[in-house]
């Protein structure tokens, strides 16, 4: 008898709709993420990629459809339950969103002190040092965000979410605005996080190198829906063919 190993689904999105006024951004998105899987969501600006991950962590609420994260229906959670869920879902912002008035160390310790009040000062310091070490920025811990480069800010932003030991990471354009070297560092960091911590992730990007390096599966979004998904080669080859057809038909119309 053939047995099929069923992988655990950590994010299950069905028929997701979201509009802002008359502008329909998401028009029926279906997406599943398995445990330990890195899913890259590709698409042009304005196709609702960032909106999608903001709905997943409860920053925005959908008009229709269901979003189940780690077995919890995000829309119907009480504030307390939503906070508990958010501790398991890390969010790395496009602009890093570091707290300007705090040092790197204070930035990382901030969510830890607020959510784990039972931790001693030494335990907090140890966890901050460990996570800074994992992003190779231990020596920057007393610097302020304004003194850091774009790539360093991104890494600190990721470290701040990692310190809570999340089960899922949501990366919003992690390599946007970075030079190629910093982009490679971020890509390898995302890859290492998956390997070391077994974290599942959704990576929003339009950077093909990032998609190729970090993703197990690619999801192509267009016009508020998932157009196609699969491996990097499958999606890209089909898309390039589609793009050629589109360009030729448009040019010779």
């Amino acid at each position: 008898m053939q047995t099929e190993i069923q992988k655990e689904i950590v994010i299950d999105i069905q028929g997701l709709y979201k509009s802002f006024g008359d502008n329909a951004v998401l028009r029926g998105v279906d997406l599943q993420v398995e445990k330990g899987e890195n899913v890259v969501v590709l698409g042009r600006s304005g196709t609702g990629k960032s909106v999608l991950i903001k709905i997943i962590c409860g920053l925005l609420s959908q008009d229709e459809g269901s979003v189940i994260v780690l077995g919890e229906d995000v829309k119907n959670l009480s504030n307390r339950k939503l906070e508990e869920l958010r501790l398991k879902v890390g969010f790395s912002f496009q602009l890093s969103a570091l707290y300007d008035s705090m040092t790197v160390k204070e930035n990382i310790a901030f969510p830890l002190k607020r959510n784990f009040t039972q931790l001693s000062k030494k335990e907090v310091d140890d966890r901050v040092d460990a996570v800074l070490n994992s992003v190779s920025l231990l020596k920057s811990k007393n610097q302020y965000p304004a003194e850091l480069s774009g790539g360093q800010k991104k890494r600190i932003g990721i470290a701040r979410t990692l310190v809570l030991r999340p089960e899922i990471m949501l990366y919003d354009e992690p390599t946007a605005g970075l030079d190629p070297i910093s982009s490679i560092e971020i890509n390898s960091l995302i890859h290492n996080i998956k390997e070391e911590f077994g974290v599942s992730a959704i990576i929003i990007t339009y950077d093909l190198v990032c998609a190729k390096t970090t993703g197990d599966r690619l999801v192509m979004m267009f016009d508020g829906v998932v157009q196609r998904q699969g491996s990097f080669e499958e999606v890209l080859i089909l898309t390039m063919k589609g793009l050629k057809v589109f360009m030729i038909t448009t040019l010779y119309k």
């Binding site: 906070e83 969010f91 300007d100 607020r114």
Partner: protein
């Protein structure tokens, strides 16, 4: 064609009304949340103290200067009118009533609205447009408790203290002027200043300052928290924080004076 225009106007009017009431409901919820946090420890004492210190240090130079000038100028300008009736000995009482009952709470509140309100509005506005508030939210760090509750509480604590300080500085300015001209002693000045002020007046001023502090903090935080449209929005939030606070302070002054009048 005409029906179409009227229809459009109605549509836009209803849309604006809708927006107005939505904003009012959102603001009301924002204010209510403060009271919910008031009864829900733990409190961020360290941050409250830090904010209170910041408010005090920020406002102290301007408040000292304004308070002193008010005391001196008000005394100088009241003297001719009183001397016409040979009543210059009433100057300390007049200044005492004017400063404690009306000028100190109002002037302190207006200075704080300008100095503290704009600073909080701009700071939170900048945090909002750079997604720092969302970052706190997604890490379950309770941004309202850390950013709003602490700032509003600091304003509630500091505005009454600053009001007392303004009164003290204004009375000092007044005393120096009266001492130079009428040559009365400090003890006489103090006795005469407080002659016509009772405990109800003191309580009324304190209540006013508390309400003004709450208004300044709340309006500034709300405007910061609801900032949209990037850096342009930050400027607008700071401006709205000051202007709205000032309007509300004047309205509250009128209402509180009316209510206190019923208790006399």
């Amino acid at each position: 064609m005409e029906i179409n225009t009227v229809g459009k106007q109605k549509y836009y009017l209803s849309k604006r009304m809708d927006g107005f009431f939505t904003n009012m409901a959102r603001a009301f919820r924002f204010v209510l949340e403060y009271f919910a946090h008031l009864f829900r420890p733990p409190y961020e004492f360290r941050e409250i103290v830090r904010q209170a210190y910041k408010i005090g240090v920020d406002s102290l130079p301007l408040i000292s200067l304004t308070g002193f000038i008010i005391g001196v100028v008000f005394t100088k300008q009241s003297r001719p009118s009183l001397s016409d009736f040979g009543a210059t000995s009433w100057l300390p009482s007049l200044i005492g009533i004017a400063v404690f009952k009306a000028l100190a709470p109002l002037v302190t509140a207006l200075i704080c609205a300008g100095k503290v309100g704009s600073s909080i509005g701009a700071e939170l506005g900048a945090m909002k447009v750079t997604e720092q508030i969302e970052a706190m939210d997604v890490s379950a760090s309770k941004p309202y408790r850390y950013l709003v509750f602490t700032r509003v509480t600091a304003c509630i604590i500091m505005v009454p203290l600053l009001m007392l300080f303004t009164s003290l500085v204004a009375m000092t300015g007044s005393y120096l002027n009266i001492h130079n001209n009428e040559h009365i002693s400090l003890a006489t000045f103090i006795a005469k200043s407080f002659d016509k002020i009772n405990f109800l007046d003191f309580k009324a001023s304190l209540i006013k300052a508390l309400v003004f502090g709450f208004t300044i903090g709340m309006v500034a935080c709300y405007n910061g928290f609801t900032t949209t449209r990037g850096t342009e929005g930050v400027g607008k939030a700071a401006n709205a924080a000051v202007v709205t606070s000032m309007y509300l302070i004047f309205i509250e002054e009128l209402v509180i004076v009316q209510i206190i009048g019923w208790f006399r």
